[in-house]
């Protein structure tokens, strides 16, 4: 082991949370070191090159940006992070198309008014329910940001019931129960619940506010993607970090978080990398999973009690099986008219969830084609799509390693068959294909079971029930393991965590200055 430099803060992992944390710290004047086990920044927000294609790995629809005229929070955050002038955002014009075999095939536009019109046109008998539901979505979402937060801050029951009564009444109910309350048509309910895929849990197991949030955020503030893929934004965040004087090491996994255990609670003093390099620091922000951070990296003999207690009521969330496909034709050749398509053979929610825990043919898949809104995503005349289903990593526990390749190709065939059904001719246009299983996700994300959204997000796993960990002095989490998964939440949590650390560092500096000044005064007396 060699003892090297001292840093104000060290970030473990250059995923979305790690990158926004790193950029925030460095731009805030902290001496910051970013350590990444892989050769490239981004974590999920990355790309890889095969043949003529650079495949987007994980970003399907970026939320929270808003338009220039009607900006939303991510525009402000990306400005603060210094990346708005480094990347181009591309607006998508549809929320999604959802098509269920023998049931329905409906496309929702990326407009709040437009969604309402399409829904009423397709389900005229449910007009009043549609209007009520959408109004409720809007109210619950806005209240969750404003009225509820204010009431929480003031600790006021009056304010809670007065300014966030819809949130109080419906926010934490299951999405399914609120859909059931408003609609009788199963098709309509299935259509409106499509975004459960981005949360990894069935509608009966997600909070209504989370589903409402997505419909509202994408509907009002539009879905976006990034020119050059999410890798471009990861690279831009890193650039912003480096410009501010941050230091980065790739191919440098962290092996251990070293603590001083003499006090009431362990206190971070240093970290050690896989190469045996030790860096002194009192502030570590981990973008690794909670499980890896506390079970594998933290040097205490036992898990801190509060952590252990929290973990006991947690389960590992879903991973995904994903095909990255380069097509030798433009999207329109196959009738792909919008970026995001949810496809399925059933509206049975239980069956969808059960299937995620098996190697049976998936009943719900998603196809994203970036070229619809951005032809630069593939060489002229070609296009790239990602075709995926959610799947739990444990499915692969029993597959012998020597059967791994055959098993993954066999499962990939199921997905292609489903795509073929909705987009006839699909298979014959495949030019490049790369198969990623939950084990691939595990390899690149280093998460248990290859989880892509962190712990399972049951209603009881929401942030409201899970206080931020403070059991280890100087160890902070920034990723999807203590909140929601996905791009916007992880970008945001990285920044807010780093802001809190900056505050601490500043307070520390002031305290030290005070001390030095006091000493300065004392010293002449001693002489």
């Amino acid at each position: 082991m060699s003892n090297l430099e001292k840093y104000d803060a060290v970030i473990i992992g250059a995923g979305n949370g790690g990158l926004t944390a790193a950029a925030t710290l460095a731009r805030g004047g902290a001496k910051t070191l970013l350590l990444e086990r892989h050769n490239i920044p981004g974590g999920c927000a990355t790309s890889f090159v095969r043949g003529d294609f650079e495949f987007e790995v994980a970003l399907h629809q970026l939320s929270g940006l808003g338009t220039e005229k009607n900006p939303f929070i991510m525009r402000k955050i990306f400005n603060e992070l210094g990346v708005m002038d480094k990347v181009e955002f591309v607006e998508e014009h549809h929320l999604y198309r959802m098509t269920i075999k023998d049931e329905f095939d409906i496309t929702l536009p990326a407009s709040w008014k437009g969604i309402r019109e399409v829904l009423i046109e397709n389900f005229p008998d449910e007009e009043q329910g549609i209007k009520d539901y959408m109004l409720l979505c809007e109210r619950v979402v806005l209240e969750s940001f404003m009225g509820f937060k204010a009431a929480l801050k003031m600790n006021s029951e009056d304010m809670l019931m007065k300014n966030s009564k819809h949130y109080a009444e419906y926010g934490l109910r299951s999405a399914k129960s609120v859909l059931d309350k408003h609609f009788s048509d199963e098709q309509l309910k299935t259509l409106l619940a499509a975004y459960w895929c981005y949360l990894g849990q069935a509608p009966r197991n997600i909070n209504f506010v989370d589903l409402a949030m997505m419909l509202y955020a994408y509907g009002v503030f539009k879905p976006w993607h990034i020119e050059g893929g999410s890798q471009a934004l990861s690279n831009a965040l890193l650039e912003s970090f480096l410009e501010a004087g941050g230091e980065v090491q790739f191919n440098a996994a962290v092996d251990q978080i070293i603590t001083d255990k003499s006090g009431d609670k362990p206190k971070v003093i240093a970290i050690c990398t896989e190469h045996g390099d030790v860096y002194e620091t009192e502030q570590v922000i981990s973008n690794a999973s909670s499980v890896v951070t506390f079970v594998d990296l933290l040097d205490t003999d036992e898990l801190p009690e509060g952590i252990s207690q929290d973990f006991k009521s947690r389960e590992i969330g879903t991973s995904a099986f994903c095909l990255y496909i380069g097509l030798d034709c433009p999207p329109e050749t196959l009738g792909i008219k919008n970026a995001s398509t949810f496809m399925g053979t059933t509206m049975d929610e239980d069956l969808m969830v059960e299937t995620m825990a098996t190697l049976n043919p998936p009943v719900a898949t998603m196809l994203t084609c970036y070229n619809v809104d951005d032809p630069s995503f593939a060489p002229p005349g070609k296009s790239q799509v990602s075709l995926l289903c959610l799947q739990y990593g444990k499915v692969w526990d029993d597959v012998p390693v020597e059967d791994y390749a055959d098993t993954k190709y066999a499962f990939a065939e199921h997905l292609i068959e489903q795509a073929e059904e909705f987009f006839p001719g699909f298979r014959s246009h495949i030019e490049e294909i790369e198969v990623a299983t939950p084990l691939t996700m595990q390899r690149y994300l280093n998460t248990p079971g290859g989880s892509i959204y962190g712990f399972i997000q049951n209603p009881e796993d929401g942030e409201i029930h899970r206080p931020r960990y403070d059991q280890v002095e100087g160890l902070h989490m920034a990723g999807c393991w203590q909140g929601m998964g996905g791009f916007q939440p992880t970008y945001m949590v990285g920044q807010s965590t780093a802001k809190a650390v900056l505050k601490k560092l500043k307070a520390q500096r002031l305290a030290e200055q005070d001390q030095t000044q006091t000493q300065d005064v004392k010293e002449p007396a001693n002489v």
């Binding site: 050769n39 490239i40 790309s47 090159v49 003529d52 650079e54 009431a151 929480l152 600790n155 029951e157 934490l172 109910r173 909070n207 050059g228 893929g229 890798q231 471009a232 990861s234 690279n235 890193l238 480096l242 230091e247 980065v248 090491q249 790739f250 191919n251 499980v291 890896v292 079970v295 594998d296 036992e302 252990s308 207690q309 973990f311 006991k312 009521s313 947690r314 389960e315 030798d328 390693v401 020597e402 791994y404 390749a405 055959d406 190709y409 990939a412 065939e413 292609i416 495949i430 030019e431 490049e432 294909i433 084990l439 595990q442 248990p448 209603p459 009881e460 929401g462 409201i464 029930h465």
Partner: protein, 392 residues
Amino acid sequence: MSNQYITNKEQLLSNLVGYVESRELIAEREKIGSDFSEDKGKNTAEIAKLHPKRLNLEVTEIFQETPSTKTFRVRSARGALPPFQAGQYINLFVNIDGVETARPYAISSCPTHRDYYDLTVKIVKGGFVTNYLLNDVEVGQTFSATSPIGTFYYNPIIHGKKLVFLAGGSGGAPARAMIESVLSRGVDADFYLVYGNSFAEDVIFQDTFRALAQKHENFHVMEVISRPEEGYEGLTGYLTGELINEAVSGVDEVMFYVCGPTPFNDFCKSELKALSVADKRIRIECNGPPKNPSSIQNWPTEVSEEEMVTVKVRGKGEFKAQVGEPLLNSLERNGYFVENACRSGECSLCRVKLVEGEVFNPPEAKLRKSDETFGWVHSCVAFPTSDIEILY
């Protein structure tokens, strides 16, 4: 104080419909759940089953295949080696006279053999590492290596039922693995090997291929010698379009795998293009950095390969390097380690950021678009055409 607050907060939140039920659920789950502490090391172990970061290998047997080629059979003291897809390679780390470097070698044995990998190495004129391996390495020597990696393999989803491998010289190594794998798994496909060599005595795995062709109706081998001795009775010349067309009918349904020295690969590609074979039906294995980068289009004509430039590594030091030498090689010769595997521009493990100066990126560099924007290059195929500063 804080307890008081929490009680109040809980009280406040209990007004939210569903809140209390969730708290109760959490309390219940806490009683029966695990805190994952028994999973220490599990993630790493699970990943290492398929993709360990490093393999520790020992040479247990050496076979002289031809006068110019040896096969090194390597094993791990840990037993079974990771599975791989036939056609993939490992990157072998070597220390030659104090220089730490590495070279990728295709595994020539079939993936069904999990207890060893065969690495088949053919002499390369002036080859720094091949000369060392062929002349100095004996049984018992140990190496560190990456786990198997690479994108040159049979993909059952899209490669179809007619597979043609155009191999040149050492390209026979991945060809053997791929052919044995396809045949032993009973894949429903016709497989043709067209194998070009300069000299008749240099045909690697000649007996193996001939025996397989005898045994399997769906495998066909054709040997082609470009510099035959007098009296040689087999096919002679190069792997021309005409010859390929004769060997295999219906080339528009074929998936072609091309692996050999770079000039061989380039020749095969142009012949296949002339036969109107679509790009997507030609898979060419990458094969190291270009030997004469200054002959490539867009090379800055005012710079010669022999010139010397200064390479500064931010925070670490600086050294003099020759323009015509790949940056990764000069870094290694000056004692800087950069992770790497394919050494051909493809895998991106050796990515470094160009902070100052210019490098030449040949077409071999499969850069991500945004890497280009922000100055990240693949050092294994980057040529410094001015004084540069990098960071990694």
